[in-house]
Symmetry: C2
Subunit: 304 residues, 2 copies
Amino acid sequence: MLYGAIEGGGTKFVCAVGRSATEILESVVIPTSDPDATLGACVSFFASAERKLGPIGALGFGSFGPLDLRTGSSTYGHMQATPKPGWSHVNLLSPLRTRFDVTIAIDTDVAVAARAEWRLGEGRGLGSVGYVTVGTGIGADIAPRDRLTNRLMHPEMGHIGVRRDPRDTFMGVCPFHGDCLEGLASGPAIYQRWGRDLAELPPRHEAWSIVGTYLGQLAATMALILSVERVIFGGGVMANGLLLPHIRAATWRSLNRYLQPLNHEGSMEHYIAGPLLGSRAGIVGAFLLAESVYSTRRDTNDLQ
Amino acid sequence: MLYGAIEGGGTKFVCAVGRSATEILESVVIPTSDPDATLGACVSFFASAERKLGPIGALGFGSFGPLDLRTGSSTYGHMQATPKPGWSHVNLLSPLRTRFDVTIAIDTDVAVAARAEWRLGEGRGLGSVGYVTVGTGIGADIAPRDRLTNRLMHPEMGHIGVRRDPRDTFMGVCPFHGDCLEGLASGPAIYQRWGRDLAELPPRHEAWSIVGTYLGQLAATMALILSVERVIFGGGVMANGLLLPHIRAATWRSLNRYLQPLNHEGSMEHYIAGPLLGSRAGIVGAFLLAESVYSTRRDTNDLQ
């Protein structure tokens, strides 16, 4: 059985064909341009792969958002309003559906990465994990996740309000909220505030603990609201792992032993983790989505 | 069929027997004292009701927490560490189980109230609701809720961090976090800060908008993280309804049109609501829990 997988990001699309998430046969990276060209290149890749490898049984698509994922919605699988030029309200599924007569499952890039880390990464064996990606934006989701059919939309956790670190007077970069979490701790916020990427700042620079303080507040809030068993931080800003100790310290300070399962010294070492799959989480998750939808044989966003 | 229901609070326990949540035949209010006396009085009430009305088929128990609700835990249904004197680590189920050979389902008082408002109150017909109770403490939960078996514990949303209203310099009353949401917006925080209950302060007093600002931050965070379709605010501090407009305004400011389904004027009127069941939500929810567990015929905390 062959599956197709797409990880659609604001900078690049990754497409792959394989027998499973761990047995990829062909893949391609497509720079994100306008929707027609980008999705057209995805279609061409899968068409070419089918000629070479045989028919694809199902497609899994993890895309940047915001997406309409309400089952039964007339705009299911469409992009919603997005600052990404040209992409607002684009039907992400129709170019694929026109060419391929297979079930296509779509979810956010964050949701599929969360599922990948839960199933095959740092969340293996746990009942539930939160997954946070810190890059150009900040996204977070939970795995496993119940159906989205009974929700307003998919989570948008990157935009929660956070308490100011007293050392930090930066106004924030979020066009909607200014100094929400994404406005203060995303890659662009770091670059604009300190003139370079976090990885290029010395380890003793206050940027590390300031950014860690904000991300730790998200982890604490996810523990209090979602009660996930672990929170995994991935994405470009997390890449070298140096932020994790700062996030652990901030989560510990925020919770202050309040939650019984996290009230002992050392609990943060296990509670806050880096990703096992790294930058592969998105495409692996898209494969898992394809496999899941193939086994249930219906067009669904049910990730249970 | 007869069901028994218990709403266990820090101040009083309400016990009731009835044919359903809407057909209560007998009820009693028991002041909360030590666990033996309080739970003993509950047992006596149900024993007396059974002699009069016939056998009870199932018991639903909504209790103050924190509770151990992990299915399979050796301390399932026990109170966890709590500031309430004498109640830490008490087995809440054993006095009932010793006397009654029926299925007993337990969940938090907030969870059962959330379920009641979702099924029979202001959440009727919606896919999901958040329910917040603002009183001596602040608790919140979501309905319907997936199993707790894959979570750390039940939600403890009242303790999330909030951004300071610049007018407010009160240090907060939470013994763990000082100025978390509960530390700033619970009944005791209001009383300690302004010398009286909110309802006794004039409508133009800044207390209304300050407390509303904090509660609106919770509603916005629940929208971003849980994507619930409505947030219902109940509990003693909410009683006269005057806080709702302040909460709506603060939620609107916090989200700032970011979530597509909530980006139009007037959306807050529907998104933020008062409770329909009022103070009855807890006992009604305990009945729903008993009915649910009777119909599934097993000892469970699965609220689906």
